[in-house]
Symmetry: none
Subunit: 206 residues, 4 copies
DNA sequence: GATGAATGAGTATTCATTCAT
DNA sequence: GATGAATGAATACTCATTCAT
């Protein structure tokens, strides 16, 4: 949060290349993707990676940050939608599409990440909570469902399809639909366990 | 399948310690858990690990094998149950309980593992297919659900709760219930995507 | 053959230290010399070895390459000498001096080494063949001697003296002289076995 | 030299299997041949190897011992031969045949070996010295040749042919003949270096 | 005596990170 | 600012040797 003066043009270009390259490399190789490969893919020297991101983990955090921010923007926009049920459904669809593009599921391993991520994630959580509250009030989802539930279930469709070797890239739609059916009021059975109190945003559902 | 003569008493004890220690260590540290740490945890020398499991991957395979076998046994028993819907539900419950005990989700990263694993996994798949077929015929699950769907969704409850820092150990029950509601015929909406053809069992949903 | 831009000054210095240290270490400990020891002896970190030579074998190959190249250069120069007999003798002397400086006889154990080595070795073989042909035509060596014979016998003087614990460093001269006498036409007895067809240069007489 | 009571029948059989297996394995794999492989090849347990030979080096020593003893026996018998020149030639032939059967040239690496070996080797050296002295007195070898010279040159033919990939098993005969021609009085040129004083038999020309 | 299970020092190699150019 | 050379901790795996069975 040090008062970042704007980067020189080339530096900013490098930063972008790096984020893209890193996201690709991580998506392909998981957390073990090597900094050297990322640098090569970005067309810069290894040293440059560390000038921009003091640590491999910081690089990871930056990627996650971008992603969460983008998703949060979508969520906030949908808060004003006319049909709250459709809005929630749309939000989950966008979230899954985003995850599908680049599988960052391995992030689960990556422990706490940095504080900035936690902050942005907390924002996203707020947004989801509001989306869910509106949907619930509208009767679009069952009464016993919370924002936390949706946050947790949000990644399941992609997770689930990641096991299918040569899956259609849209297979997640099937499982999102099934899960969403489970969230609806119609035919709902009482739930055997209360929802988690709050997700402290230090962990990583995205 | 080499006609393994029964292990010496101490050797067999070591093998058990190793499997337990390795499962714990893998669960805590993921695939990068080091053989040295596993050995230390099991209270044996590093060399002993390799005597029992020529390769880190073989160790992993042994753990997975045990797990799948156990689960398959449960599934086969449930094939004879009176209520096919309850049987399927029971099966998913046992699967989740097993996964809850030790999280092996990192296995997703692991490549093919060995052939034995693939074989046993294929058996398990068969069992699940039969459980699902029976449940469907009984009207306990919707008509458009296949065995493959259930295999894929089976792990979702644990995956989802793994994001909650200090979750109640039974939280998965909540998400299994939601997902199972999504599988029921009541209130089902048509699914936007066909199910995957077949899971080739070289990959790792367990 | 990748268009290697010239190494940075320090890197090139390190490369030289490494080659020297490795040659010494190999000479003292044989093929089992450890990369760690080589690094220590060169005064660099272990990682630096692998930056310069991706593999222990590549390091070995580099050493061998240098040696063969140097010897070949001498041989080619001697092809123009006035007295072909003296030229051959001189060549064998230089070869033995080179080997005496650093004993690489352990190389016999080493497998194929890399293709570059094979290529350069084939060149050296050509050179020797020509030296021997000229000497034979001049009557300086017996008629039934081939280039292959000389290539094989070339290393014998050093091999032989390597058994003498505190030998004079010039002792090889004695055995080179004896062997060379065996190659002369005077007093030659017919040979009981034909010469080898061709040495395929994937093996390692140097 | 502890007053070895005669071995039990099976033990003695094991000892022989071991020596044979070890010689083969060493010949095929060099000094790095593993004790486990030797044991397997001999059809005994690994522990048995160490009961008979407290150390891998001791096993090696035992093999060498057998070999030297056998060769020495031949040498001593030839001391009484009618033609001292032929006797020396015959001796060198037998030595080369023996070495050809099983290549133990890697032994050079094997440092000092044990005292027993040194003792037996000293005997062999004596024998060779006497064979050479007789041959010299008879004019069968040049006057400036010593027993030490012959001991050293003795192994050269096998060494030299070990570089030829698919050599005829008798190729050594060619090089023994060349070297022997170099030892003859006819056409001998004066030698540029005095012979080594004495070979202290702690090193290993066989 | 024989066996093979256990041990741990040793090895090549990788990779995040630092720093001289 | 950018580069890539240097570093060394970490890792899977091997093998001579010891020792309980």
């Amino acid at each position: 949060m040090t008062s970042t003066r704007p980067l020189r043009a080339d530096a900013s270009r490098n930063r972008q290349s790096l984020l893209a390259a890193a996201a690709d490399e991580f998506a392909e190789r998981g957390l073990n993707a090597s900094v050297a490969d990322i640098a090569r893919r970005a067309g810069v020297g290894k040293g440059t990676v560390f000038r921009h991101f003091p640590t491999k983990d910081d690089l990871l955090a930056a990627i996650v940050l971008d992603r969460i921010d983008a998703l949060n923007a979508v969520g906030e926009r949908l808060l004003d939608a006319a049909d709250p049920g459709a809005a929630l459904s749309e939000f989950l669809t966008v979230a899954a599409e985003q995850r599908q593009q680049r599988d960052l599921s391995f992030l689960q391993e990556a422990g706490e990440l940095n504080a900035e991520v936690t902050r942005v994630r907390a924002q996203l959580f707020q947004t989801v909570h509001r989306l869910v509250d509106r949907a619930r009030e509208h009767g679009a989802v069952r009464a016993d469902i919370t924002g936390a539930d949706v946050i947790l279930l949000m990644c399941a469709p992609n997770y689930v399809t990641s096991y299918v070797p040569d899956a259609s890239p849209d297979l997640w739609q099937r499982y999102l639909a099934i899960i969403f059916d489970g969230l609806r009021p119609e035919g709902a059975h009482p739930l055997p366990h209360p929802p988690p109190m709050s997700l402290d945003a230090t962990h990583t559902p995205d």
